[in-house]
């Protein structure tokens, strides 16, 4: 299974986190689980690198954080997309799609 896992290109972790949060506020572990599930366990995201990324996004103001009770009544730090975060998500998604299209074009060259 390890051989089929893909490494995440640099900078895309932010995009994935923003997307994950677009569906609603979650805490760090939940985001990690979601990414794991949705990517069908193909994505190799070291759980440790998630938190520095989350804090970076928090610092930029694209996500906001608050402490709240989780589903098992323990306190956890929940992150939520801000309005600027939503705008950023849209921009980065478009950029990504444009990039991959161009790369496909180049790869399809004969």
């Amino acid at each position: 299974m390890t051989d089929e896992r893909l490494e995440l290109p640099q900078g895309t972790l932010d995009l994935l986190i923003l997307k994950a949060l677009s569906l609603g506020p979650q805490h760090g572990w939940a985001i990690s689980e979601r990414l794991h599930q949705v990517s069908r366990a193909t994505l190799q995201v070291p759980q440790g690198s998630l938190y520095p990324a989350l804090h970076r996004l928090e610092r930029r103001g694209w996500i906001s954080a608050r402490w709240d009770a989780s589903d098992n009544n323990r306190r956890a730090k929940f992150y939520e997309l801000t309005r600027t975060g939503q705008r950023q998500l849209k921009t980065e998604t478009e950029d990504w799609r444009r990039l991959t299209t161009v790369v496909d074009l180049v790869l399809g060259m004969e």
Partner: protein, 901 residues
């Protein structure tokens, strides 16, 4: 974009100021994650421990995740700096002795420099406060050739000032000023205070606005007599008038005249002070027009006899310094020729070559720089040397400490601290030490600075050195320098640290190698100390020689009393009678042995008049002959010896035949090889009856301590202007103790508003020896300081070495060496340092000696006595510094030393 930035700042601020909370949150967040992950594995059937272990593995490195989060906060630099600082503080606090030693050493070095910088700044660099565009303002020096020598004068005639105003084109304005000590106030409170007499244009040179009232206008500064208005100095306004605005319009007695107060100058405005803050400013023409000295005042604005004021000039924009100088020189020549028209006996311009120099405003930067300023410059250099020695000491201490910490450093390197971080941490320690030293040094400078100011700049009322921006900046730079220099050594050590070696080595080494750097530092200190001490010795000998000079009169027991009738209209006879009354009263004062009348005071004023000797066509060309008058007791009162013939006697009354006593040098000049007694001289005019020479007196020094030609003559006071006399009194004891009682006893005899100025001869002479006294004091103080620092440095190095060599020494003792042998071994080591230091220091001093030559008196820079004494002092200090640790080490039981590792 803006919201991003705001959010960024808010985040960072929170991370900075609520660090504990943020760290706690991070910890909680990660723990929550691990617990949920572990729950997942628990549900899959793992044991709690197994579940947690798998959770951790799945997570990856917790600490590196934390670190990465922390890095993402954007405070990395600040946090590492804070951490470095805290670590440095802790390690310094653990070694209080070391820390204290270093801080005190640096404080002495930095403090000395900051204090000296304050002095030199005031003397040389700082332009007077409020001066507008100081680099275009010049002090005018007039230069000409007199009797074959070039004369540079800074105090000149008012008429010259007017001539320069008329005949220069390169200056936007000229101003004149003269600072005088005048009696201010009335009655018993009248005191002689510093008053600045200035032209109305003077205030235009400054950007100052009066606090209340106004400055004077050009219409108030006109010849022949200016308006009687005055502007008060700020400090005087505060102290005498309580800072009240009703001071305006009041009258103030200055000198012989009453002035109306029209304004107050702003705070710290001193004009161009000489050495004291003026209490008031009056128009220069008011002073000159009303000034009465008891002598005839020539027309100060049309004649050229009275040179008394300084001239300032502001260069026009676009005029170069060379052009301005040429302009001034041309104007001086025109003025010279104008003077020639009035006085045909004047030297023609072709021989005198009159020219001018446009110098800097600061007097001590011009061509007539006093010796005091030169000494100040040298002492600053000395202070810098002391700082270097202090830094060397500290560097040595830091190096020794670094060697002791080798294991600790190696351990930290092994634990993953990068060499760069380590170097930065060591540098932080050094900077912290330097910072503490600098702060303590500033305090020291504040305290020591006031002492130095009293020595170098007496008369200045204010002057704080602590609040001074430039001194602070200088101290800051000195601190940085000290920190950098001293921190360099341990950093070099850290870079070369060999991990394996250092980890293996015990706290002590098995063998011992003395670091080459430390040896070099020690030699550096020793040679510099030698240089300073030799300087001190040379000054001490100069001072000795100067003090031992036979001046031709006694100083300590002589009091000088000058009666100032302050404009009271008395006839010449009444003036003369007043002097007689004062003289008789002075003789009755307890403690006064003798009293006499005189006319001039050495180093204060001189008097010349025309002399005519049969057979000599121009006496003036042979030199300047100054005169003194006296009563019969003159020579015994003042202490001038009569070598041949007689002095003045009671028979020499007003109508008796005219007689004079001449000095030995004068006799030799006027009648070389012939018998001077009985010769005829005519005084004042060729047609006067003969004045016969009846005695020869010893030469006195009255114009220069070091090379006075000694051409003086004495006439009976009754035969020459008795109305101008002053009184000399000889007391049993030191004159300073009697000044006040003499004044009090004689003051009631003065008519009206008159008052007496009473000084001791030592007061008058003190400024003459000041430069040597200063040099001696400062070089001794700093040289002593340097020696102490160097001795401490040597002691610490030797002590450290001995500690390293304990095993070796223990072995020697065990093998039968006596304690004395061991001590001799160590001491000879120390002496070797001292010898090399003496050699190197001596060489430097001989090379630099020529520079200091002019400041000394009759002492050659290579004086062998001084060198010998200094060498002896250094060697003894070295012996002492090495013997102490040697004795201590030699007394330890060899069994103990051999066994311990």
């Amino acid at each position: 974009m803006l919201t991003e930035i705001l959010s960024d700042i808010r985040y960072r601020l929170r991370a900075l100021f609520r660090r504990q909370a943020v760290e706690r949150e991070l910890d909680q967040e990660l723990r929550f994650h691990l617990e949920r992950e572990a729950e997942k594995y628990l549900k899959q059937g793992a044991s709690p421990d197994e579940a947690m272990r798998r959770a951790r593995v799945a997570f990856g490195g917790i600490d590196s995740a934390k670190e990465a989060s922390r890095d993402g906060r954007g405070l990395a630099l600040l946090e590492t700096a804070t951490a470095d600082l805290r670590y440095a503080l802790r390690s310094l606090r653990r070694n209080p002795g070391f820390t204290l030693g270093v801080v005190v050493t640096l404080a002495l070095g930095i403090g000395a420099n900051a204090a000296m910088f304050g002095i030199v700044d005031r003397l040389l660099f700082r332009s007077p406060p409020y001066l507008r565009e100081p680099d275009r303002v010049h002090r005018v020096y007039l230069v000409w050739v007199e009797r074959g020598r070039e004369v540079i004068e800074t105090t000149n005639q008012y008429t010259r000032y007017l001539d320069l105003r008329r005949w220069t084109t390169g200056f936007s304005d000229l101003a004149g000023y003269s600072n005088r000590k005048l009696a201010v106030g009335v009655g018993q409170d009248a005191r002689e205070l510093e008053v600045s007499t200035v032209s109305a244009t003077f205030f235009d040179f400054f950007d100052a606005k009066p606090v209340i009232g106004r400055f004077f206008t050009t219409s108030e500064d006109t010849v022949p007599v200016g308006a009687l208005v005055t502007v008060l100095g700020y400090g005087f306004w505060q102290s005498r008038y309580g800072g009240r605005s009703d001071a305006l319009g009041q009258q103030l007695q200055i000198g012989t005249v009453s002035y109306t107060i029209v304004g107050v100058a702003p705070r710290d405005f001193d004009g161009i002070p000489d050495d004291a803050s003026p209490v008031a400013f009056i128009p220069i023409t008011a002073y000159a027009g009303t000034f009465m000295h008891g002598t005839r005042v020539p027309n100060y604005y049309t004649g050229y006899n009275w040179g008394w004021m300084s001239i300032l000039a502001r260069r026009k924009a676009g005029v170069s310094l060379a052009a301005a100088t040429a302009d001034l020189s041309a104007a001086h020549e025109r003025s010279w020729n104008a003077e020639l028209g009035l006085n045909p006996a004047q030297t023609p311009a072709a021989i005198a070559h009159p020219r001018a120099i446009a110098g800097p405003v600061q007097f001590e930067r011009g061509p007539r720089q006093s010796n005091v300023a030169r000494v100040a410059g040298w002492v600053s250099g000395v202070a810098l040397i002391v700082l270097l020695i202090a830094c060397a000491n500290v560097a040595n201490l830091l190096l020794a400490r670094a060697v002791r910490r080798r294991r600790e450093i190696a351990l930290r390197l092994a634990l993953g601290v990068s060499r760069r971080r380590l170097a930065i941490q060591l540098l932080t320690e050094s900077l912290l030490l330097a910072g503490a030293g600098g702060a303590a040094g500033l305090l020291l400078a504040q305290w020591g600075g006031s002492i130095l100011r009293a020595l170098f700049l007496p008369g200045y009322a204010s002057g704080s050195s602590l609040a001074d921006g430039r001194t602070l900046a200088f101290a800051f730079l000195a601190t940085l320098l000290a920190g950098g220099v001293t921190g360099l050594a341990p950093i070099l050590q850290a870079r070369r640290a060999d991990l394996a070696e250092d980890l293996k080595a015990g706290a002590r080494e098995s063998g011992y190698r003395r670091s080459r750097i430390r040896t070099a530092l020690l030699l550096f200190q020793a040679s510099l100390s030698v240089v300073l001490l030799v300087g001190a010795g040379l000054f001490v000998r100069s001072l000795q020689k100067v003090r031992g000079l036979r001046l031709g009169y006694d100083i300590d027991p002589v009091v000088y009393i000058y009666p100032n009738t302050r404009g009271a209209q008395l006839s010449d006879d009444a003036h003369a009678a007043l002097r007689r009354r004062l003289l008789d009263a002075a003789r009755t004062i307890p403690g006064v042995e003798r009293a006499t009348l005189g006319m001039t005071v050495p180093f204060w004023d001189t008097w010349t008049t025309d002399l005519f000797v049969p057979g000599i066509d121009s006496v003036r060309r042979l030199g300047e002959f100054t005169l003194q008058t006296g009563t019969p007791e003159y020579f015994q009162t003042v202490g001038t010896r009569i070598l041949r013939g007689r002095g003045i006697t009671l028979e020499d009354r007003r109508d008796a035949p005219r007689v004079m006593v001449v000095s030995e040098a004068m006799a030799a000049t006027l009648w070389p090889g012939r018998e001077p007694l009985g010769q005829c001289i005519r005084v004042d005019a060729d047609t006067m009856p003969c004045t016969t020479v009846v005695g020869i007196a010893e030469n006195i020094r009255q114009n220069s301590l070091t090379d006075d030609p000694g051409l003086q003559y004495y006439m009976p006071v009754d035969q020459f202007h008795p109305e101008n006399a002053v009184i000399f009194a000889r007391v049993k004891g030191h004159a300073d103790d009697f000044k006040e009682s003499v004044r009090r006893q004689l003051q009631p005899l003065m008519p009206g508003d008159g008052y007496l100025t009473v000084s001791s001869m030592s007061d008058i002479l003190r400024p003459q020896v000041r430069s040597w006294e200063l040099g001696t004091t400062m070089f001794l103080a700093f040289g002593g300081l340097a020696l102490v620092l160097a001795a401490i440095g040597l002691y610490s190095v030797i002590a450290y070495d001995v500690a390293q060599r304990t095993r070796e020494l223990g072995i020697r003792i065990a093998l039968g060496a006596r304690i004395d042998d061991v001590v001799r071994l160590v001491v000879s080591d120390g002496m070797r340092f001292a010898l090399v230091g003496v050699a190197v220091g001596g060489a430097i001093t001989l090379a630099a000696g020529r520079q200091i030559g002019p400041l000394l008196y009759s002492v050659s820079p290579g004086d062998p006595l001084v060198f010998g004494v200094v060498a002896g002092v250094l060697l003894s200090a070295a012996a002492l510094a090495s013997a102490l640790p040697a004795y201590r080490a030699a007394r330890v039981d060899p069994n103990v030393t051999l066994r311990t590792e």
